[in-house]
């Protein structure tokens, strides 16, 4: 979406035009949902957060700044909703941890993408991505999958550009290391230190 179209859409959204909403929805629904499902690793959670993100847009439509960048705005809301969700879950999980710790084996969580990945390499990338810490996964998804520029991603995550670069570098290393340990084709792993233990 070019900037001129985006600004027009923002103006129409401010007026409460349903057609403008549909255009924005058509443009951003898929990347936003992809981001959320990979971040949360649960389809039902992603669906809920996705819906809430759009409801927030509508709620704030009349108060949007005329020069709002819709992509970063939507991804910021989605990301913040996911952070809130994770915090709420962490509280529940800490309460449940004492009980699940007694269980004799752990349940391995499989991401929805991992199940449907077309080939082995994709499956491994999905698996490695799903096992990264949320903060690392988040920056990789925003930069690599959502295709946002780094300054927008820094704004979305509330980081300075240099802090983002550091986090991205670290996340990339973690991902590459996880893939290396999962024996991925060397062409995608340029400059990655080898896995110490197998």
């Amino acid at each position: 979406m070019d900037r001129e179209t985006e600004l027009t859409l923002v103006g129409r959204l401010r007026q409460g035009e349903a057609d403008a909403f549909d255009e924005v929805y058509a443009a951003f629904s898929k990347p936003l949902f992809t981001f959320l499902i990979r971040l949360s690793r649960q389809r039902d959670v992603a669906e809920d957060l996705h819906e809430e993100t759009w409801l927030r847009l509508v709620k704030h439509a009349g108060r949007l700044q005329a020069d709002t960048r819709l992509g970063p705005w939507l991804f910021t809301v989605a990301r913040n909703l996911h952070v809130s969700y994770r915090r709420a879950r962490a509280l529940e999980d800490s309460a449940a941890a004492s009980l699940t710790g007694l269980w004799p084996f752990s349940v391995r969580e499989t991401s929805p993408f991992e199940e449907t990945a077309a080939n082995e390499l994709e499956r491994r990338i999905e698996r490695a991505l799903a096992n990264l810490p949320a903060a690392s996964r988040e920056v990789l998804l925003l930069v690599g999958v959502s295709g946002l520029d780094q300054s927008a991603v820094a704004d979305i995550c509330g980081l300075t550009p240099s802090a983002l670069r550091q986090r991205l570098h670290r996340a990339r290393e973690l991902l590459a290391h996880a893939l290396e340990c999962d024996a991925v084709h060397p062409s995608v792993l340029e400059g990655v230190p080898s896995c110490p233990t197998r």
Binding site: G16, F21, S29, E51, W54, L55, V58, G144, R172, L175
Partner: protein, 82 residues
């Protein structure tokens, strides 16, 4: 981004929300937009609560002024200056 690994991430398949759920979202959002529009067009008042803020602020200012005046009067009377 020239990094092959990051580029590879961009090639991963995208996901789509459930079609029924998408329709549900659009319906809810359209309804809310229509409500906002309706409120703006026919009531002529700003969205919920915004018009009340100046009224409250004025009321609090008046009450604070009365309170301060009374406090000063009381202090002056206490020292026999009135």
């Amino acid at each position: 981004m020239s990094d092959p690994l990051i580029r590879r991430l961009g090639e991963l398949p995208a996901a789509e929300p459930d079609r029924t759920r998408s329709e549900h979202i659009r319906t809810r959002c359209h309804a809310r937009l229509a409500r906002h529009r309706h409120r703006r067009l026919f009531s002529g008042t700003p969205p919920s609560g915004e018009g009340m803020a100046p009224v409250w602020q004025s009321l609090i200012a008046v009450l604070a002024f009365v309170y301060l005046t009374q406090a000063i009067r009381f202090a002056l009377a206490l020292y026999g200056l009135t």
